[in-house]
Symmetry: D2
Amino acid sequence: MIKDMLRRQRIETPSWAYGNSGTRFKVFAQQGVPRDPYEKLADAAQVQVHTGVAPTVALHIPWDKVDDYGDLARHAAEVGVSIGAINSNVFQDDDYMLGSVTHPDARVRAKALGHLLECVDIMDQTGSDTLKLWFSDGTNYPGQDDIRARQDRLAEALSAVYERLGEGQRFLLEYKLFEPAFYATDVPDWGTAYAHCVKLGPKAQVVVDTGHHAPGTNIEFIVAFLLREGKLGGFDFNSRFYADDDLMVGAADPFQLFRIMYEVIRGGGYTEETAFMLDQCHNIEPKIAGQIRSVMNVQEATAKALLVDRDALAGAQREGDVLGANAVFMDAYNTDVRPLLAELREEMGLAPDPMAAYAKSGYFQKIAADRVGGAQAGWGA
Amino acid sequence: MIKDMLRRQRIETPSWAYGNSGTRFKVFAQQGVPRDPYEKLADAAQVQVHTGVAPTVALHIPWDKVDDYGDLARHAAEVGVSIGAINSNVFQDDDYMLGSVTHPDARVRAKALGHLLECVDIMDQTGSDTLKLWFSDGTNYPGQDDIRARQDRLAEALSAVYERLGEGQRFLLEYKLFEPAFYATDVPDWGTAYAHCVKLGPKAQVVVDTGHHAPGTNIEFIVAFLLREGKLGGFDFNSRFYADDDLMVGAADPFQLFRIMYEVIRGGGYTEETAFMLDQCHNIEPKIAGQIRSVMNVQEATAKALLVDRDALAGAQREGDVLGANAVFMDAYNTDVRPLLAELREEMGLAPDPMAAYAKSGYFQKIAADRVGGAQAGWGA
Amino acid sequence: MIKDMLRRQRIETPSWAYGNSGTRFKVFAQQGVPRDPYEKLADAAQVQVHTGVAPTVALHIPWDKVDDYGDLARHAAEVGVSIGAINSNVFQDDDYMLGSVTHPDARVRAKALGHLLECVDIMDQTGSDTLKLWFSDGTNYPGQDDIRARQDRLAEALSAVYERLGEGQRFLLEYKLFEPAFYATDVPDWGTAYAHCVKLGPKAQVVVDTGHHAPGTNIEFIVAFLLREGKLGGFDFNSRFYADDDLMVGAADPFQLFRIMYEVIRGGGYTEETAFMLDQCHNIEPKIAGQIRSVMNVQEATAKALLVDRDALAGAQREGDVLGANAVFMDAYNTDVRPLLAELREEMGLAPDPMAAYAKSGYFQKIAADRVGGAQAGWGA
Amino acid sequence: MIKDMLRRQRIETPSWAYGNSGTRFKVFAQQGVPRDPYEKLADAAQVQVHTGVAPTVALHIPWDKVDDYGDLARHAAEVGVSIGAINSNVFQDDDYMLGSVTHPDARVRAKALGHLLECVDIMDQTGSDTLKLWFSDGTNYPGQDDIRARQDRLAEALSAVYERLGEGQRFLLEYKLFEPAFYATDVPDWGTAYAHCVKLGPKAQVVVDTGHHAPGTNIEFIVAFLLREGKLGGFDFNSRFYADDDLMVGAADPFQLFRIMYEVIRGGGYTEETAFMLDQCHNIEPKIAGQIRSVMNVQEATAKALLVDRDALAGAQREGDVLGANAVFMDAYNTDVRPLLAELREEMGLAPDPMAAYAKSGYFQKIAADRVGGAQAGWGA
């Protein structure tokens, strides 16, 4: 039964994870990096080939802009994946220096809204049902702009996008404490995203990026709360020690990931309605292998969360047995679930160790040799 | 006009600030500390005598429990103050070790709810229109209790209190990141408090304690947001460098206090509907003088916020003039408003320097001499 | 070989963990709590009985003050433990409101120093070789005292204590970011403690309390650095989500504890010269069981750290194989070491599950029944 | 006398502040940005023209690499400035993905060291007496490299640079908590930098970048401590709300800047031996104007710090008068020093308002018109 649950897990990888990324100090180029969305999808397919639980790929517009999305979708199917969420980008045009949908200038706001609506067009063309909205909008200096007026502008844009959504489509609103805005971000926390989504209706939900919180924030509490309110749309998984480090999920605090997955399961969020997406930057490690490791980390946390003896836990909780309840919880966490997952993979016709299988496949050597010349994909393209 | 605004400012001081307080390591006793609620009100009256803007005093039940609240209210009037918000306490009874309204045991929950309803009774008896609810409820260890079930229990209790509120009464729900709970607090952030209050209706509002946030949280954003939603009920003012330090408001970051007061004014929150309360612990400084200094700090921040040239600011903001807008904002902050406030006090028939006037009054020497014997008031009584 | 390493592990429990503790809001009394140092030692002996690796107990003066330390030491031996580090206390006397050894008043400084020297006397009497110095000294408000002059006073006191140390004795200087001081703490970080210790000489070392850092601090880096400098004297183990929460070690971030233990081993610190002490507050969980669980958590982290394949790790590191090196490291962490530890315990003649064995022993029921009347031990006594 | 102190203040601006900068998400290009080091110096000269206290400019190698440094120095003199500190850069070459002087590969370490020694050559050629060393070195994942071995490698490189320093030359070692390394940074805090510098000798000092600390760190304590040890070499001034935001100094927390300047003065650090440098990123505001504002912010904080009544303060501190001492301190901070500084500027033959004077000068319009074509300077060049 735990294996059944794990077998139907779905983790979406992002097209941009296969391109180069870095910090403001330097983007280190890596070998074999894709030059276009087609090559990104081919790389993403490798993750699916070796894990079996990563069948969809999120696109980022305009980084993944193509002339013919139907053709891109066909290519995806050919390599063995399909297109997932569409991610909008209103932070890289020169016009957006002081904001996009919350910009003081109506012209810039209209331009930004135009892009968001175009993303819904692309959803129509690709069959994607999910639009992910992240706004880097904010201010760097006290007084720079009117914090409250920016909320009014935000509400107006969200409403327009909401109205444009078709049957079976939704958007996920992302929040982030800071970066690139350093004084006030316009959607800084889950409360802000939640309040906007509640007003708009059921097609608007909150997405939790695990790297977007203030130090000390209890993320699993937010997960539990949003699920209780029916407003958890999904995750952008990654991990962090300090800020939005975008490291591999589970790398910085695997216990936290386990606690998050436990609340997902306990709150009824382990369904297709919740989007489990990776959003990471493999600045110094190989990208495809980094994605495979990340998918495995989510699987392991999920397996442990599924192992929690819910009856024993409820009993200890009811009796106020602090140490007993904690022990039930930790028993699951302390279990080594790698043998279970290896077994499951073999039952699914996969190699038991995806990292080893990918290494053995020679795919990396092949792309490193083939992809010479052209412009490597990165955050700019 | 700015003087008019400042003249009608109302800052509420808390009865417990006049008693002893400390950290878990030690409560240092001070001289002249009140032994009962009557003496606390007498001390609070000193703050009003010298500042003219602190006419009300918040009570804390059971610390300020008396047999005859009518008599206490008469005493307040005699010394020149009146009774403000009623603060509930469901964190000090031995039954509350694992929670109060969110406790796994229904018996404890019922007891806690009983206390909250008793507080509404006291509101009826004292004429107080505001109930402040702070729940220390939470868990220390992962797995200790069911995070989500605790929200259900919380919602049930809040609903019962809400139903009990009479005409013209409201409650303010306080949030706090951590302490005394160290893993998951049941009302950890403004989003949680907001979501509960929205469901309940207009008599439920959020109170912002300026020391209750994660590091890096932009408090003025929360203030602006809650005002836009009509859900800002008031403030518990204090300041902090690290956690919930409960230092004198304005002592740690006077610029932040200015920014908060600016958003209050800009958002239409500078009215009688918003409760401006102090909530501090004078662990090492004299209590009455500490309250006077704190009231003055709020006044100074308010005066500066009122000085912001709103037209010039809006102009610079509209043009995207980052440095210009920031400069308009900082011009107000950099102004020395102490002469203006001294002038105002003299117009109000007060001494221009409340600290000096209080020192000169000999009140402290008097209580230090008189209040010998008996048990000094503290957090336990 | 790993088992040999684990067999000779020594974890010291603190006498005060067996008494009541709490937050500034409330100290919840528990059943069966010791009334004097003799009963504390009896409780500590239970931890040793069931784990076999906790043979020493730290004392706290004056909480554990007795007339005859020789008698106390004999009692310890009788119940099966011995006396470990002596912890000084210069934070609870009324004179210390504004500091102890850094107080502006020379009389208070002399008093505080007197206490520290008295602690060395007790070391002589008990045979303890380690003095732990924690200074709560600091200021709450900018300007309150001269930050630099306080360093001069601190240096003077440390020097006097250092001079008093006998052959084979040392002191460990503890640092802490904040609490109870909220603006500037006089020994806030490892750098400050290190700089003082370097000047004094080899008998002065730094102790790392795992809950005493700013958010985001990499503790294992500090451990590695201090070991490289020969200045790591030991640990005060506990865990935290926010501030100095003093939860059970390993409860908040077991992966961090593993990383710390790895650096201890890698840096040559897994020896008798390093003091591995617990320093926790069991505010809501039973104390003896809480200590047993904590000892087990340290054992598990140590076992995992010992399992790291150092050769494979060094190889991957040398080649710059980021994912490979991380995988070697995580392989050890992901291993379930509980069977190994159960086996070891049986080889040591212990029950494989110390928690179950303690529960079955009936000790808690016995002390709960016996220890009625008298004043329970806490931080005040 | 205060005016004399302010008149001889020296604040160094960095050449890179005049070029474009941004976040990892986007570098927004601005008008009139310099295309080469000569144009950067011309812009820096504007800051000096209008403030009179910014006569030197820090260079960054290789961003400011030129064939003939003598010629560059002559150009600087012609436009009215001179060359200050030389900043090394061992973080942007592709070889440095896993570190520079701490890299596991000896070849890369040698290359990095070569660059550092070349920077000393440039010091010889330009007459600069200060080398600033910032190492982005660190790791992103636990286990990725050997934390302790990296310290050994760091020590080796620092020693080689130290040996190369000539008469009258020194280096300043910078520390930073995180970014671009996200797990362990090799020089993460002042303690690490201090320990290395102490071992090397008097030509090695610590530089405090005000944006490089963990949340809640008391920076003025570090300043006071380093001054007491004779190890404070200087500052990289900027301000931050969250991480290393690199905003204009004094913009986020002007009270903190005042406290820092107070400790500088009190500790005897207000001399030519201490380098007061700006290190900021004007991502969204105009660069030259941003530098002028920043210089003014430092001047205002310094003026306030100089205004502190040291005798009154010492008296209140000695008596343990918490509120009195804090009041003396705050009296200085609350003073509006802008009139004093305007007066000083007029005495120095400058316009009283540098921002207005610069705006009126038409310089920005001129460079915006002239500097068309060519590649704008940024962090890459």
